[in-house]
């Protein structure tokens, strides 16, 4: 940045800060953060966003700027770590690089880095990170092969680093997610041998012992997760959420003139607002089939866990949110109202990745 542009940027920052001092609104925080973006000082951007979010929690623009700045900061850290590793590779740097990549959600890259670490120096820690990266891929994509590979890698890590509970915890997470309660109990027993008296693990051991009679084999459990696209311990499987809380929300959405139908499905139960009789049945079936197709296609294409499907045509627009608590759909005559989309996500617990603008 030239001297002149640096001077004018500082001047604009001071002016934005003065406006913020007079009126600490979310817009003024965003304006200050944007001025810092021009200068490119990530620390200042994060500081302003953090302060703004403490006063205006949930402000979308501040969250977006903070998230972008955090990503850039992590990218910069990744570059530094890679340079350091090329000069003097050592376990602490490999570990930090794997942690940062996992934090960024770059699971494939994290696994490749852990494999490189393992091929250079071996060791249980590298195997543990390979297992962790692969387990996260399983939880995102629900592919049984990912689950099996993660389980085997964690088993290898257990052998290589006895006395460390972290690989056992990966195994417990996988076993619990696919309903292999007998395996989960065995793993928890091993964890409790290493750290006896741990209250959380003891509670988990009691839970697993109670559910052992429902246990599946690990292979069958993983196959079921892949087939259904749902984890065994998800709220949707447990059916814990009450339909009573959902019905008023469906009614409120259905009151919109533009909305033709709102549907919520969980297991074999469906709540339909706006349609009756055979039309309601056919539409509900179509929504279910689109959801199933989205889940299977997402697994095949490796795009992760599906969270939202939108279809538009001469019929209007149909949005389907696929969450842990069920599937919710809204059929609208025109374009989908973003408020309805958010309502669908809140009903189902679908977590849509934070939205960013194209640049």
């Amino acid at each position: 940045m030239s001297f002149l542009s640096s001077f004018t940027s500082k001047k604009r920052i001071r002016a934005a800060l003065r406006r913020l001092g007079q009126d600490p609104s979310a817009e003024n925080y965003v304006a200050v953060a944007r001025e810092h973006v021009v200068v490119g000082n990530l620390q200042d951007i994060l500081r302003v966003c953090s302060e703004g979010l403490s006063l205006h929690p949930g402000n979308a623009e501040l969250m977006r700027i903070a998230e972008r700045a955090r990503q850039l900061q992590l990218d910069s850290r990744i570059r530094t770590l890679k340079q350091d590793l090329s000069l003097s590779p050592r376990p602490a740097l490999w570990r930090e690089l794997c942690d940062v990549l996992l934090e960024c959600g770059r699971l494939q890259q994290a696994e490749e880095t852990a494999e490189e670490w393992w091929s250079q120096s071996g060791g249980g820690e590298a195997t543990y990170y390979r297992a962790r990266a692969r387990a996260l891929q399983f939880f995102n994509g629900f592919r049984s092969t990912d689950g099996k590979v993660a389980w085997d890698l964690a088993l290898e890590a257990v052998r290589e680093m006895p006395g460390d509970t972290r690989p056992l915890e990966i195994q417990y997470d996988i076993a619990k997610a696919c309903g292999a309660w007998a395996d989960a109990r065995k793993v928890l027993a091993d964890i409790l041998e290493i750290s006896p008296g741990h209250p959380q693990h003891e509670q988990r051991f009691r839970d697993a012992s109670q559910r052992v009679h429902d246990s599946k084999s690990l292979r069958a459990g993983l196959a079921e997760v892949e087939a259904t696209g749902r984890l065994t311990d998800s709220p949707e499987s447990a059916g814990s959420q009450s339909n009573v809380a959902i019905r008023p929300l469906l009614k409120r959405m259905g009151a919109d003139k533009d909305v033709k139908a709102v549907i919520f499905q969980r297991g074999g139960t469906a709540l339909v607002q706006g349609l009756h009789g055979g039309t309601a049945d056919r539409t509900t079936r179509a929504v279910r089939e689109v959801g199933v197709a989205a889940r299977s296609s997402a697994r095949r294409t490796g795009v992760g866990r599906p969270v939202e499907v939108l279809i538009e045509g001469s019929f209007g627009s149909l949005m389907i949110a696929l969450g842990n608590s069920g599937t919710a759909a809204c059929w609208s005559q025109t374009y989908m109202n973003p408020e309805h989309a958010e309502s669908l996500q809140s009903i189902t617990g679908a977590t849509v990745p934070s939205k960013g603008a194209l640049a």
Binding site: A286, S297, A298, T301, V303, L310, I311, G313, F315, L358
Partner: protein, 165 residues
């Protein structure tokens, strides 16, 4: 067509842009990279995942069409699948569809106008190339297989027309 796809992958967050026939055959594609778009010279190992994605996306579109078929709905022209790691955005046009693979944090609404423009340009391009290769295809009387005798243009006589005999 590649220029149109290249212009799409220049936007941050768009990983690839492809034109795919409805039966899943990849027609053209461009990949977005840190160093800029690449379209013309994709090597085999780069093209293969794109081809696979094209075929699978086509399969998904077919499944969606089958699912909404019993509702007597027309064929959808835009389908979006948002997932935790990537998003697939499909914009259908006659015989083919434009497929964008984006990063998960990209709002699909941001791509709507871009894809509309790209599809319009592609349809215009396809129509222009059809018109150039088959200039008589849309005429009411396509030329015969054998050469015919040249005919003089018909002139209809109108009252008061002195040139008509």
């Amino acid at each position: 067509m590649r220029e149109i796809l290249n212009s799409l992958v220049q936007y941050e967050g768009i990983q690839s842009a492809s034109v795919v026939s409805l039966d899943g055959v990849l027609v053209a594609s461009a990949l977005g990279h840190d160093g800029g778009p690449q379209a013309a010279d994709l090597s085999d190992h780069e093209v293969q995942p794109v081809q696979t994605m094209a075929a699978l996306a086509s399969g998904w579109l077919g499944e969606v069409m089958r699912a909404v078929g019993p509702l007597s709905w027309d064929v959808p022209y835009r389908c979006v699948l948002r997932a935790t790691q990537k998003s697939l955005i499909i914009h259908a046009f006659p015989g083919s569809f434009l497929l964008l693979v984006t990063e998960p944090n990209v709002d699909p609404e941001e791509t709507r106008s871009l894809m509309d423009d790209a599809v319009q340009q592609m349809v215009a391009h396809i129509q222009a190339s059809h018109a150039a290769t088959a200039p008589y295809a849309e005429g009411a009387h396509p030329p015969g297989a054998l050469p015919s005798q040249p005919t003089t243009p018909l002139r209809l006589s109108t009252p008061g027309d002195s040139s008509a005999s």
